[in-house]
Amino acid sequence: MAEIRLQQLAHSYSASPSGPEDYAIREMTHIWEQGGAYALLGPSGCGKSTLLNIISGLLSPSEGRVMFDSTVVNDLSPEQRNIAQVFQFPVVYDTMTVFDNLAFPLRNQGMAEAKVQAKVQEIADVLDLQPLLKKKAKNLTADEKQKVSMGRGLVRDDVSAILFDEPLTVIDPHLKWKLRRKLKQIHEQFNITMVYVTHDQLEASTFADKIAVMYGGQIVQFGTPRELFEKPHHTFVGYFIGSPGMNLIEVKPEAGGVGFGGIHLPLPEALQQRLAATQWSTLKVGIRPEFVHVWDGPFDDAMCADVTYVEDLGTYKILTLNLAGQSLKVRLQEDKPVPQGQAWISFPAQWLMLYADEFLLEAAANQVPASEVPHE
């Protein structure tokens, strides 16, 4: 059991990286606390699996340190790190029975056979593998195999953490849900640090207490699912989380706020000051479709947009609007009237986010904990 600390970690697959684009993992500092259930979320190719392999020791990082509690483990092999890892495709030892598969990691460390028996029975109970114990592993179905793979990680009581690399990819949808709940139960029961890599936001938010969103080789935000939704720290988080993603509009600073195409958006005083003090090359505002307010008719400061498309998704509707040449998605609850032709909308101030060079700009001095500030 341990806290996993990554310090100034960076990794490049090329021997002599010449620029940031050569790095699969850009320099980052990050802490996974002991006993947490974490998800590492990001699109394919963002460096999730690389990061996972660095933590487990299958890869050696080109820069920085990996620490378990206060020990630097860079030079320790996976077998010395006490890490369990479950891979995307189930790995079982075909020639062995399910029992022997589960017992394999224990026997490898020379555990007494009586204790092996007890441990394996315990894990088989948890994973509902009891009836399969005597079966040859090669005859199992994909989800049974994946359960065995997970079991091999869970059976060891010496593991510091269990890492999951998109473990439910090959599993049928209805079993996915069952297995995910099983994992959650196991986490509560054993209190082991778990890191779960996925590209599915639903999977991430149902499994994890806190989610780290990865993009372009760095962790752009680390927070609870709610934080990621309400206050994305990076335009990518806004775009990637939520369905549909956040509306992002490029703007120019104006007196008292920002604006685009003749539309003026006022900003709080403190934020204006912050903006003035910041260097940037692109400026965007973002607002989630859920938070755009639609008025029933013309109203005070409300902006007028053309309705271009209405998509009915049962319990809610997605409106596509055109506001001064910018396309905008709005999520409308089913009880609300659907505006015809034109819609009067406004952006509530607390949900309007301002992004300078894709990173969130906040009024007060940056309150993001140091461990989450991505280093360029």
């Binding site: 299958l58 077998e79 890490i83 369990a84 890892q85 495709f89 394999f104 990691p105 040859k136």
Partner: protein, 288 residues
């Protein structure tokens, strides 16, 4: 993959069937024909039934040959299979070196069999061959494959190892390449020892190619003819006279067609039987 029942597929197989049947069935029938007749010349031949079979099964000369053959094939498998597996495990998996290894290892397989004999005939000679010279002069072993029976036997065995171990190694290598990296990663996470990795990951995945390797090596070593014939002509004495050669001498040298044909059928059945035993033994485990 689920296959579709379709007897029209026979049309696709027909050319192969006809071509192989032409070269296989007609000569086979001829041999069967010989084996039950006593032939003096084209016009005078007598049906003798199973006489030839009875005779060859009691012939001590053929018994000796058969015994030598079994010992030899057994030694070939005993050396080449473990050695081939070992080589395959040590071969680099990617980059220039792996291509180079593959190419170098294929060379012996591409040399005509009598030239293989010639190469070693030269290489092993005490006067002009590096091996013979080195053994005689530096290691002071009195080595002469042309005069000493055990030297000749060992030389034929070494030739076979030189010639064919690469085939076993290449087959195993291809089996090993089919194992995804993630299996090795999982094994490291599970703290498997190198032996456990070999025993539980590599060996099971190599099983089907090993079956092919064992069968090919058994069949070919059991039918060995060219190399010992070129090296020593089967001598000295009878030490390297294997079954094929005994039979060829009988059939072509002494023109004892009947017994030769009878025994070659027995010989064919032995190979078939042993191959079948290997095959069932090695595939048996899979069914459980």
């Amino acid at each position: 993959m689920s296959k579709v029942q379709n007897n029209k597929a026979w049309w696709l197989v027909l050319p192969v069937f006809l071509l192989v049947a032409f070269s296989a069935i007609i000569p086979m029938m001829t041999v069967v024909n010989y084996s039950v007749q006593d032939i003096f010349d084209q016009s005078s031949r007598y049906f003798v039934g199973a006489d030839w079979f009875r005779q060859v099964l009691q012939d001590p000369r053929l018994h000796d040959s058969l015994l030598r053959q079994f010992i030899y094939s057994f030694c070939v498998l005993l050396i080449e299979i473990p050695l081939g597996i070992g080589i395959a495990l040590t071969m680099p998996t990617k980059g220039r070196w792996s291509s180079l290894c593959l190419i170098v290892m294929t060379i012996p397989l591409l040399i005509p069999w009598n030239v293989v004999g010639t190469i070693w005939q030269i290489f092993g000679r005490g006067d002009i061959g590096l091996l013979g010279y080195a053994l005689n002069n530096f290691f002071h072993i009195n080595y002469n494959y042309a005069a000493n029976a055990s030297d000749a036997w060992v030389t034929v065995l070494v030739i076979d190892v030189w010639h064919w171990t690469s085939l076993v190694a290449l087959l195993c290598y291809s089996g090993l390449r089919a194992i995804p990296d993630v299996y090795y990663q999982a094994a490291r996470i599970d703290r498997a020892s190198n032996w456990a990795v070999f025993r539980h990951i590599q060996l099971p995945k190599m099983k089907s190619v090993l079956l092919i390797a064992v069968m090919l090596r058994f069949m070919d070593s059991f039918m060995i003819y060219t190399e010992p014939f070129v090296l020593t002509g089967g001598g000295p004495g009878n030490s390297t006279t294997f079954l094929s050669q005994t039979l060829t001498t009988m059939a072509l040298g002494q023109f004892d067609l009947g017994p030769a044909a009878a025994f070659s059928l027995v010989y064919f059945l032995i190979i078939l039987l042993v191959s079948w035993v290997f095959y069932t033994a090695m595939t048996h485990g899979e069914k459980n």
